[in-house]
Symmetry: D2
Subunit: 345 residues, 4 copies
């Protein structure tokens, strides 16, 4: 059994890790830390876990994380970088669900996250945790920077087109929509029920942290300079992310060939579902599962190709992907503990 520790388990990615790991056949939940909730039983904070998770939160110092095989950081940006070195030295693998190990470019990290990066050598070693594009490296990684939710959809959607050199890399437009859980479990007016339901809005249109992360990764797939307009929106649903990805074809190609390109790219992927050409995936079709579904459109057989991508922002967009990485790092079948059927309705 893999001894698992979770740092900062009180947020949504934390409780989602618990939901998944509680039934993971190869995992033994060993420790979960929260300074604020020290001593509180996890199931008292999250009644959904009553009878499923028997752990109590413990203060970081009491948690003996060094006895774990792997530690997930479901924490604000900046926490993992402070503790990673000690854990790695003790032979503990690290998976950070925040941004500390996502951006290789330290200057970019410090510009967008507003804190100094204090852990350059671990950052150098860290592996970007998107299995479908980076599986081999993840298998051998000691430390993972788990991708952001939006970047996951954009990379899965654009990758086959960029790799094949079919689209203008310098004029990508990603119009993305996220459920409110993506904003986390914070006491903020803007995400109150009475503020965020029965309404919607865009946010961070002029600048968003997920742009540099996505561009850094997409640039690996093409020699042409990548330029991306990423526009996030807040949608009145709890879970779910829908990315509408626009690209302009450089060369003519049949819709059949486009569809084939994506089916070939993802034919061996457990968690990527290429739907029939012209489909309209719904976010609920992946609710509470690690699936990502996508479909291609080519209006009027013109220059625009549109990729519609849906995922559950808390699963494939966060905690499920992190467990998928863990499975790879420990030589388990990739889908272990991740075969939930989406909850619909």
């Amino acid at each position: 059994m893999i001894k698992v520790g979770i740092v900062g388990g009180t947020g949504y990615t934390g409780v989602e890790l618990l939901r998944i790991l509680a039934l993971h056949p190869e995992v033994q939940l060993t420790a979960i830390t929260s300074r604020k909730e020290d001593g509180v039983k996890v199931a008292d904070m999250y009644p959904s876990l009553r009878g499923k998770v028997d752990l109590a939160f413990s203060a970081p110092d009491k948690a003996n994380l060094t006895e774990c095989d792997v530690v997930f950081f479901a924490t604000p940006h900046g926490v993992a970088m402070a503790q990673a070195q000690e854990l790695l030295a003790a032979g503990v693998k690290v998976i950070d669900l925040a941004a500390d190990f996502r951006l290789k470019d330290v200057a970019q990290f410090e510009k967008w996250y507003g804190i100094p990066h204090t852990c350059h050598d671990v950052l150098e070693e860290a592996v970007y945790g998107l299995p479908e594009l980076n599986r081999a490296a993840i298998r051998n990684a000691r430390v993972i920077g788990n991708p952001g939710c939006y970047p996951t959809t954009m990379q899965i959607g654009y990758a086959p087109l960029l790799r094949a050199g079919l689209i203008e890399a310098d004029s990508l437009i990603a119009d993305c929509k996220s459920g409110v859980s993506g904003a986390g479990r914070k006491a903020e007016i803007g995400i109150l029920f009475s503020e965020a339901s029965d309404t919607m809005k865009a946010y961070g249109v002029s600048a968003h942290r997920h742009t540099p992360e996505t561009v850094e990764q997409l640039q690996k797939l093409t020699t042409e300079p990548v330029s991306l307009q990423f526009t996030p929106h807040l949608i009145p649903m709890i879970r779910g992310m829908h990315s509408t990805l626009y690209a302009r074809l450089k060369t003519d190609i049949s819709n059949e060939a486009l569809q084939q390109l994506f089916e070939d790219a993802y034919k061996d992927e457990e968690f990527i579902d290429v739907m029939p050409f012209g489909s309209h995936p719904e976010t609920r079709s992946v609710r509470a599962s690690n699936m990502l579904r996508l479909a291609l459109h080519r209006p009027g057989n013109g220059k625009n190709v549109i990729v519609l991508v849906v995922q559950d922002n808390l699963v494939k967009g966060a905690s499920g992907q992190a467990v998928q990485c863990m499975n790879l790092m420990f030589g388990l079948p990739e889908q272990t503990g991740l075969q939930h059927v989406p909850v619909l309705p």
Copy 2:
């Protein structure tokens, strides 16, 4: 492996059966019928099942249901009674999620459902499928009348009090609230998103079919005549049921003793969670799981005892309970295939 057939799998209880049974380790989905959708792949109608369920709907006559070990009827009232006899004769067990085999009193059935009951002998044999109150009979049953969603919460909540003779049986008030999925997957104006969201209402206040069903069952638990005021409400949520059960104590009793009464009554139950006295269970704490949670209140230590009960109306209130019955009928551990962790948030 248990060969399972589903009649009428296009509604919410049908797709929920598929969500549960697709991962049930002892089940082989054999047939699913729908006259209207004959030939359509289940996963084309419910993309959430892509890669999980490979069956196509078939017309009833083509379905060879007699080769199944058990057939679930996720159909409108009146369908199961027309086919049960033939299936039983062929050695197939029957579980009806509709009302055909719930009410022993034929006159009551015909009054409340407006159709003649055409299958009296099967009705006589049928067992009411509420495991926590009727487990032994279910184990030996060939045909099950699966309880209504509301009646499940009312029986679990009132049973310990009635059995102990603690409350006035003739003045029960059950104020119940249901998510919209309880109304089924029908093209009706009243349950459109734009009609049923951001609003609520009561319905069927003067008379509702679940009253006679509940009274018939509760009456088994006490010699005093049971009288129940059941008031259902439609709440803008997809899944979830919250019953607020009022009863008046006949004899004084300490809150500790009340709590103990419920903890003793359900201490061996996998799917009943008696929360600490004075808790306020949320419907989301059981979302997409077979758990039912309840908590006791005794305002001002007065005559009123209040039982708060929550369940997922599609799982413990319908399809999950039906699978729980199936497990008992086939000698499997009761929780087989039903150990989902509730989805929160």
Copy 3:
């Protein structure tokens, strides 16, 4: 024109006052205070008011409230009692939307609100602001304690029955449901969208502040001792309140006579709509309006009479009712500025 000041206009009752008063033909908005938002334009905080309200928030000390004709307190409990005396001395009328002047029984106030009442003489003078039951006194009042949202529905629903001596006053059960805006505009985890949508729960079942307020008022209508079980629930909708009121008839009476009793009681009321016997009012049927709708039920012509009451908790349940009181206090037609058509869908 009536010069109006608002103290603490940043919450939902505050912005709702602004929505109503911005188009009130006899009102001139003169000052709105907020220590925290001093200098911020109201329309910058609430873009819905752009072009409709030109005021900026000002710190209380700068606001010259003594130049107003009336001041509304849309503040936490305890604020109005600290400022009422000075305003009254300056000839300014006071309408408090919080609880400072609701409960005549000081001991009860201090028990339930946990703060000492520092303004007994004003409390003595204060008038309970429920026009339908207290119109004459409101007309001559200098200071109003505006009713709580739940108490409004319970009093309007029970009053005709209690006055007529038709029901057992000592066994009232009010099962009430409120939209989330009733919890106010506070940065609290429990009312985040991801916590409060697609789910529901009861709260404060064992004890709630609105019970003593309601009992104190209901007791004025009958010589028999009133006992009330009030059970509030949180529902995933922004606005709207639905109260399901149970009472037991002492004497037999026809349903026609019951209906007539209510129609007579409210026949001259602009804002009370007695619907046909057996109706099921929806909260959306009064959304964003000052209407309160109710309907009677008598299941099985038995001892239980049920009154279903709906209102918009922010309008008839708070700010609209306060403006209705203001109209009375200044001799205006009661419906002035309050004739909005409910927003449906």
Copy 4:
């Protein structure tokens, strides 16, 4: 007083017309037709109108529409074209909220709406009812084709840029999001609460009727060929539309100049609110009002200019705009009866 008739008042644009016209100071509601609801009181179907609208639906033949001054068609496509001629001959003005008189290009109409256009001469005379771009013609019109909801946002958002020749007209991308009420009040599975809440999806991505309408209108503003990618999405909210409009600048221009361009274009418009540069308008900021708000973005001061536009799809996107046209046609101040303050929260 203007005598107003409404044909087909049972849908959402119909009830929204009633909500607005019931308080319109210059309007007398004279007739409302519905074959199916003949004789039913409007307020019985829409309790929100109890006490506000006293009319009953009448069958078309009984309605004496020819005695009205103006008739609104809140009907499916194809109805208005069948009755317009007779009404015009009788001196009755016609405002069609459907598509019969939107597209001047008959071939386009017949291609996209799948029915023959039977009323060419009226179509020729018809005026496109977008006051901000077509006010003079509307003033003198006898028949109005009221714009579609999406096209309204796209035209208001792109018009200043196209007129000034600042953007590449052949690469417009409009990513639009609509509340579910935009789908109308039809008994369809896809828009049930349990199907459309807590989820989202795109639809009609490859082809949508609002594209030709929008292009036909935008083409009037520029000599360059307009090419538009319009992508609609269904969002779990009742009302509200958010359009995210992308365009590429041909010439460099300062953000200040861009902002000035829009402020100048709409400085005299009652119902267009140009928010500060870089704002993120919310749909709720216009809920239940005729306002349209927009804001400009220029990420990284690059080639992309983004216009965020919000409106209430049932008001400025439909019924409010129709009343705005009526006011112009009858020489009334444009904002008469349309000054609602948006409902927030």
